[in-house]
Amino acid sequence: MIQINDLSFNYSRNKVFEHLTLSLEKGNVYGLLGQNGVGKTTLLKIMAGLLKSERTACMVNGFHPYKRQPSFLADIYYLPEEPACPPGTVGELGHNYGTFYPGFKIEQFYSLLERFEVKPEKKFKDLSAGQQKKAHISYALSLNTGILLLDEPSNGLDIPSKALFRSIVSGYINDDRIMVISTHQVRDLENLIDPVIILDNKEVLLHATIQEISEKVCFITKSDNDPEALYTKKTPLGYAMVKSNTQGLDTKVNLEALFNAVLSHKEWFNEQFKEYDHE
């Protein structure tokens, strides 16, 4: 599991997190949402050991990530938004690097590449940006690490590949794994991420499961605007709104609308969700 406890982090004078506390449990695909610059990538990098945190502020599987011990690194993988391409072929990435990970399965790597229609014998430099991304996603998933951190994985993927990505990831998760996906493209990952973590300046605005969210708020479309709605957006079908779920309606969570509602009613959400302790 990942335990973040009273984490403070800054880039020179720019404070990114202040007393951030968060707990991530196995068996979940966490969606890490937030506006540009709130620290989504920084948080992932701290978890992966690429940035330094205080010894007790971030513990991953009982390790201090920044020590980058082999036992820790063997069970975690971080895929950046724009991964650098190694000089060789796609297949060589698996052969040269994958073999260091105990869970890596070369057959799975080739099978995922095939599903994404990427040829392993192709050189990275000869692939398009989207194909490179698919190759990296295939590699990341075939490592079978207990913790997988994906930064904007759906960026650069075409529409069929996004659907394929969702399908592959939903088959990937099990009770022993944690996946954290940082994204702006909430629509791409709807029905996949649960729980949702929304970061705002230096803190967590919302950390709740989809069920908890649907218990507290409902997502409805009406012909007339409702001034009591937490968030309203005019659509061709009427007004799509997020409202306090006082009537116990069971509605499908719309992540984009939720995200906007949370940003515009921070205190309301903070008050409503504080009963769910995920720290």
Binding site: R68, P70, A84
Partner: protein, 270 residues
């Protein structure tokens, strides 16, 4: 799992780096060997010969170039914020990564280039023995090259550290730092000489040089170009002390640079 050193992991990362070696550095090595071949072939066209000394000097120069560039060619991306991620996240300890880096840059590269050039030289010698006077595979040549290589390894360790320290233009910046250091040491010596007194220093040097025999063997003068002045300089009383200080300094500098590299691999933020 041993988190400090595991022989199997060490072998695995070294094997991976050897697999990637020729893709990253093969062209440079082959180019250098091509240049050496041209160097050997050039006198054929003008009807001259290539002496043993100039061949050894050329081999050492080529080896120096390859050894100095090796860290940035082979490990230039290690501290890159994007390209270095696969390396840093590899489940291998920092000690294993550093030792493997040492094995590849200092041992493997040096062996490949020296052996390659010597084999090339021997092949050319066997084809046209009349233009290359002697074979280089002699005990004396090997000894001379061995000493040169040791000093090159010290210089290379500085470039390994520079490679980890700088994010771009690594070789140029490391050379500038080296020049800066030389200037600094020079200024320090001038300062010390000023305190001691230039006359006293001059007299001391003259006194030491007076021990050198004036009857120098011609074969030794021939090899001055590659610093085989040991036989002659042995006559100087403080020679042994100077050599001891030099070897200690070499060891300290190398160890310091490699320790620094280890620390930088361990603590680099991405």
């Amino acid at each position: 799992m041993n988190n400090i050193f595991n022989f199997k992991r060490f072998c695995a990362i070294t094997a991976k780096e050897i697999r990637e070696y020729f893709r990253n550095y093969g062209t440079s090595i082959i180019s250098v060997m091509g240049i050496y071949l041209l160097f050997l072939a050039f006198p054929l066209f003008i009807g001259g010969t290539v002496s043993e000394l100039s061949r050894i000097n050329m081999i050492m120069f080529m080896t120096a170039v390859i050894m100095i560039i090796a860290p940035s060619k082979l490990y230039g991306t290690v501290n890159h914020y994007r390209k270095g991620l696969n390396y840093v996240l590899l489940p291998v300890s920092t000690l294993e990564k550093t030792l493997s880096m040492f094995l590849i840059t200092a041992v493997y590269t040096t062996f490949i280039i020296t052996a390659g050039l010597l084999i090339l030289d021997t092949v050319v010698h066997l084809i046209i023995p009349s233009r290359l006077n002697e074979m280089l595979f002699t005990a004396h040549s090997m000894e001379l090259m061995g000493i040169e290589i040791i000093s090159l390894l010290v210089i290379q360790s500085w470039f390994v550290l520079g490679n980890m320290l700088f994010r771009n233009q690594k070789v140029a910046k490391t050379i500038l730092c080296l020049l800066g250091l030389v200037i600094l040491i020079g200024l320090l010596l001038v300062f010390v000489f000023r305190i001691v007194g230039y006359e006293k220093v001059g007299l001391f040097i003259e006194e030491q040089l007076s021990y050198i025999s004036l009857n120098i063997d011609g074969s030794k003068i021939r090899l001055f170009g590659i610093a085989d002045s040991r036989e002659i300089l042995k006559a100087i009383p403080i020679y042994k002390t100077m050599m001891t200080i030099q070897y200690i300094l070499w060891a300290v500098v190398s160890l310091g640079c490699w320790t620094g590299t280890y620390r930088l691999i361990k603590t680099r933020k991405y």
